[in-house]
């Protein structure tokens, strides 16, 4: 039987992995962005778990900073997605081939 701490850590890891998989398999820009949010949330859960079980406040402080960064990132990223939609008329990643990447 795994301990409660390991269980929370594995949950955070699973959410991170699912977010990474979603980033790889989806072509819709908005859903890719949501996958990034999933990855950030998985990391946050690992931080808070360690903070609780090691009796240290560092993890919780870092979670606060990650949340502020995520808010700024989402504001700018969604503005860019709207701009892409205005230019191209679609939010499909495969249509963004101006750079021939």
């Amino acid at each position: 039987m795994i301990s409660q701490m390991n269980f929370f850590l594995i949950t955070g890891l699973l959410i991170f992995g699912i977010g990474a998989t979603g980033l790889l398999i989806r072509r819709n820009l908005i859903i890719c962005f949501m996958s990034i949010e999933l990855m950030l949330n998985g990391v946050n859960l690992v931080f808070v778990t360690f903070s609780h079980y090691l009796n240290s406040a560092v993890g919780m402080l870092y979670v606060l900073f990650i949340m502020a960064l995520a808010a700024a990132e989402v504001a700018i990223g969604l503005a860019i997605i709207l701009l892409i939609y205005r230019l191209k008329g679609t939010v499909d990643m495969d249509s963004l081939n101006t750079m021939k990447g």
Binding site: S35, H52, L64, A75
Partner: protein, 184 residues
């Protein structure tokens, strides 16, 4: 004891909703699943004695960020997105690579023995998490706190500049004329 089972339930629901987030065809359903993931994680934070983080998670993530997502989804034509083909051969490789990353992280996490018994900035027994965060945020972490406020300001300005509609030619001419007038 009951807390342990609650933790298992919340975590299982969070993982299921996370899977639902990435396999939904309609982005609105994806957004709803993501809100569910964030709420379940907030419940986990309460079980981990981080009540302040749980409140911030609900207010900032489920409240502010997801509202932004839903706004943008509604601004964009959903009919086109619904026609996205979900399953083809290339996706299988994506899933395999993602699962390989997950497996690697699990192996590394399992083989890594955590020797640290107590971290920096200990939480005193008689203080709750909110008080501890306030104490350390405004003493030890005051510089990152100020820097993050500048980052948020940059985010606001960037979003406004990017979201602004492009000016027409005549409006630019008006600006130029005004400048010339000042020069004269």
């Amino acid at each position: 004891m009951i807390q342990e089972y609650l933790g298992y339930g919340f975590s299982a629901l969070a993982v299921l909703l996370a899977v639902s987030t990435i396999i939904q065809k309609n982005p609105i359903y994806s957004a709803a699943s993501l809100i569910g993931v964030m709420l379940m994680l907030a419940c986990n934070y309460v079980l981990l004695n981080a009540e302040f983080i749980a409140a911030i998670q609900v207010i900032v993530y489920a409240g502010a960020i997801m509202v932004l997502f839903v706004f943008v989804i509604m601004l964009i034509n959903v009919e086109y997105i619904k026609r996205e083909k979900l399953y083809y051969r290339g996706r299988v490789f994506g899933v395999i690579i993602g699962m390989a990353l997950l497996l690697k992280l699990l192996i590394v996490g399992y083989s890594l023995l955590i020797k640290v018994q107590e971290g920096d900035l200990p939480i005193p027994k008689d203080m709750d998490s909110t008080k501890v965060i306030g104490k350390y945020l405004f003493s030890n972490y005051i510089l990152p706190f100020e820097v993050i406020s500048v980052v948020l300001l940059v985010g606001i300005i960037g979003a406004v500049v990017l979201g602004k509609k492009e000016r027409n030619g005549e409006e630019k001419e008006v600006v130029v004329k005004t400048v010339q007038h000042v020069d004269l």
